[in-house]
Symmetry: C2
């Protein structure tokens, strides 16, 4: 059961999964090009739109996006120069910067979201039964829990 090799079933799951991930990511990325957005950019907009006052501390945003601090700084540079996000200094702690959604950023998100959602459905969920979608949720909830529990 727990041999040093993968069983046929495990192998099948792993290979199909790995293969799907890269292809799907590329497809989702491509679907966002018409909006001038990267998948990464889109994620930023989503997190900010869900946050209180449409703003988040850089470090919180970074961990939420699983991005290094420098990575987030650079990604934000792009979004700021596109006018979708702005940096706001915190009055209470002068070390921290907030990333804040601008009006234009909110508009852009509202504009792109339906397409992106359709994209997720088309590229990912389309041919799955409700039962399979539910199962998917269960499975990756377990995987996620396991990953966060892991000693790294």
């Amino acid at each position: 059961m727990a041999s040093t090799w993968l069983s046929a079933s495990e192998m099948r799951a792993w290979r199909n999964f790995i293969e799907s991930v890269s292809t799907m990511t590329a497809a989702l990325e491509g679907d966002l090009v018409p909006f001038g957005l990267t998948l990464g950019d889109y994620e930023v907009l989503v997190r900010l739109s869900e946050a209180e006052n449409h703003r988040l501390r850089m470090c919180d945003l970074a961990t939420s996006l699983q991005l290094s601090p420098s990575g987030l700084t650079r990604r934000l540079d792009g979004l700021v120069s596109s006018g979708l996000v702005e940096r706001v200094a915190s009055p209470s702690d002068r070390r921290v910067m907030f990333a804040a959604l601008t009006a234009a950023g909110h508009v852009k998100l509202v504009e792109a979201a339906p397409d992106h959602v359709a994209s997720v459905r088309n590229r990912f969920l389309k041919d799955l039964t409700n039962e399979q979608v539910r199962s998917l949720g269960d499975i990756f909830e377990i995987v996620r829990a396991n990953l966060t529990a892991c000693p790294q």
Copy 2:
């Protein structure tokens, strides 16, 4: 059913999935560091080891890895200078180059494989039931089929 938004179940599947992917990739990558290998490098060694005569044409390897031609050229540069892979000119078609596993490359793969497999199991499959693993295989087989069928 096919609204412009994701149902709760779809949302759960999507979010857990997306979150898991990046974390898991980082973890698998980290587990290979002791061997001086990248996940990408490891994939190259696997493909070559499975190929006839332990060699593949660059272009075939590139598509198999979902990598651009230039991307593969660079990745191979690294593996060649590590001595794990060598470039072999094709006698029959002088445009093509083979990427061929060296003896050292084979040794390295045999050395790293058990750890990597354990890594996949620990980070991914560990807490899943056999039924869930089977289901995972089913699901991503469908997803893969859908993705390859998609107009891009």
